[in-house]
């Protein structure tokens, strides 16, 4: 996973609201609300990114050690994939 390029599922409407991000899946009609950190990851996934890429970007913004950040981002990516917000 850390080296795989992760990409958002195509054609998922989303909108930023004061740091949070609302994502709608037209197929399932589910509505997802990403908090500030998740929204930041969502932004980084715009053109495709690996977990390592995201860890590098976020470690400068958040005061968290890289190992913890890697674990959290990887777990979040699995969750996004389970919710069909990431391409398999």
């Amino acid at each position: 996973m850390p080296a795989d390029v992760l990409r958002r599922t195509d054609e998922l409407p989303f909108q930023r609201m004061k740091g949070e991000t609302l994502v709608v899946d037209p197929k399932t009609r589910e509505v997802h609300l990403l908090n500030e950190t998740a929204s930041r990851i969502w932004d980084l996934l715009e053109g495709g990114a690996t977990v390592l890429d995201m860890v590098r970007s976020l470690s400068e913004e958040y005061e968290v050690d890289e190992a913890t950040l890697t674990k959290q981002i990887a777990a979040f990516a699995i969750e996004l994939e389970a919710k069909r917000l990431l391409k398999p």
Binding site: E11, P13, F14, Q15, M17, K18, E20, T21, L22, V24, D25, P26, K27, R29, V31, H32, L33
Partner: protein, 464 residues
């Protein structure tokens, strides 16, 4: 020659008049031209939606015009009903197709000779539930195009402001609505319309779509939307503010939207929800089974720190007149102060007119009528107070034609009641400076006042 055997054929009387219904919900107007159908069925439809109608004049701007024909229930269907997705909607820039097992509609943008952007035809089962469902779907498509939405929600009014209590079935919407001490303050217990006024402020209005197919609602009047409050059953009464993002996520689950897997529609609905939740505060209302609406309003008043009693002016003349019609129909009578000079010398600005509802067949020439003349746009509508000089029933395909005229003007207005204009009532009394004047003039006085070629052929027609 052999005699034919005895035979008897009985059919339900058809109402041969085509019926036009112009509905206005959430500021979106739709015209439905109903083909002839059994009289009781059409009457039921007219009565159910009457509070939300506007006179169906051809010049009234509308989002769509639909010609509806009715058919009996079909018992042998060409293909089985897909119960997990019974409604099929295909919406493009060039066509809208809506179908369910009991109706189908096809509309396209702007056909020649038809006012309004979309027009088409529909075929609907002779069943008020089918017709009602078709209307819900049509407004769920057209309302978001103007930035509004239909919501699964209970809409309540407290003084001069409105509140939305969104929730899917079982959330407690109908229970809350049933506990309102004044039923007129319930905008709907099932589906409400929200939209923005010209200044971008959110407003809520009622709809004819109520739970258990109940009839409800009084007018198209809208109210300023002060809060969204998501109901939650609890053992205590508490109101917790929620962030706009959370409110938007919850609200989107309550949108009336039947399209599936349509990215553009999902985007549009999300934009509406985000806009609304960024402007209107959201709360989670924990309520007990015995919580009264007044208790909820009390807590909301404290949280919002706003004055609910500040007088709200309806944003359009159309809403004002619709609300007036409701009051008049509810009470049977109303006092009204007209403005203008067309009925001088008998009626002057400042006079109080006492209006009573009246049936079409009770009207006689000389009666002073109050009627609703719709404009092209909601602000072009007018309440006109003129004298009826004649009335004719021109045949089965149309309604009663009324000829009316202001005493001080020479032009005669002719309209088909319910179409080009709608008679709301007649003047039964006039008060000026505290004195009762009685109703000025009857047919004889009318003939003298007119003193024109118009009155003589009218009087000859009526055999006087």
């Amino acid at each position: 020659m052999q005699r034919k055997p005895p035979d008897i054929v009985t059919r339900a009387a058809l109402d041969d008049r085509s019926t036009d219904i112009m509905l206005s919900l959430g500021g979106v107007t739709g015209h439905l031209a109903l083909d002839p159908a059994p009289g009781p069925f059409l009457r039921q439809l007219r009565e159910r939606y009457q509070a939300f109608t506007v006179p169906a004049a051809p010049w009234v701007k509308r989002a769509f015009s639909l010609k509806v024909s009715f058919h009996s229930a079909v018992y042998h269907r060409p293909k089985p009903i897909s119960w997990d997705r019974p409604i099929d909607i295909r919406e493009t820039d060039h066509a809208l197709d809506v179908s369910r097992w009991d109706f189908r509609a096809h509309l396209e943008p702007r056909q020649a000779g038809v006012v309004g952007p979309w027009a088409g035809t529909a075929s609907c089962e002779l069943n008020p539930l089918a017709f009602d469902s078709m209307l819900r779907i049509l407004w769920s498509v057209f309302l978001p195009r103007t930035g509004g939405a239909l919501l699964h929600a209970c809409g309540l009014r407290s003084d001069e402001v409105g509140f939305v209590f969104p929730g899917v079935s079982g959330a407690g919407k109908s229970t809350l609505a049933a506990k309102m001490p004044d039923h007129d303050h319930v905008l709907s217990d099932e589906i409400v319309a929200v939209g923005m006024d010209e200044l971008g402020r959110w407003r809520i209005s009622g709809t004819p779509f109520w739970g258990d197919f109940k009839r409800g609602g009084g007018s198209i009047r809208s109210w300023p939307l002060h809060a969204l409050s998501f109901l939650q059953q609890s053992d205590q009464l508490a109101l917790t503010p929620i962030a706009p993002g959370q409110a938007a996520r919850r609200l989107l689950e309550c949108f009336l939207c039947f399209q599936h897997n349509d990215v553009a529609i999902a985007e549009r609905n999300m934009a509406v929800a985000v806009n609304l939740c960024q402007q209107v505060p959201g709360f989670v209302s924990q309520v007990r089974k015995d919580t009264a609406p007044a208790d909820i309003f009390g807590v909301l008043r404290a949280k919002l720190a706003k004055n609910f009693s500040e007088k709200d002016t309806p944003p359009t003349v159309r809403e004002v007149i619709s609300e007036f019609r409701w009051s008049l129909n509810k009470h049977g009578k109303y006092a009204y102060k007209p403005r203008g000079t067309s009925m001088r010398p008998w009626l002057k600005t400042g006079d109080s007119l006492f209006i009573e509802t009246v049936f079409e067949d009770e009207l006689v020439p000389g009666d002073i009528l109050l009627y609703w003349s719709p404009g092209e746009t909601p602000d072009g509508d007018q309440l006109t107070c003129h004298r009826m000089i004649a009335k004719t029933d021109s045949g089965k395909s149309t309604g009663v034609h009324v000829y009316a005229k202001g005493d001080a003007v020479s032009s005669v207005q002719r309209f088909e009641n319910g179409r080009q204009a709608e008679i709301l009532g007649k003047v039964v009394g006039v008060s000026r400076d505290g004195k009762d004047l009685g109703v000025p003039g009857r047919l004889g006085n009318l003939a003298r006042l007119l003193g024109s070629l118009v009155a003589t052929p009218v009087l000859r027609m009526r055999g006087r």
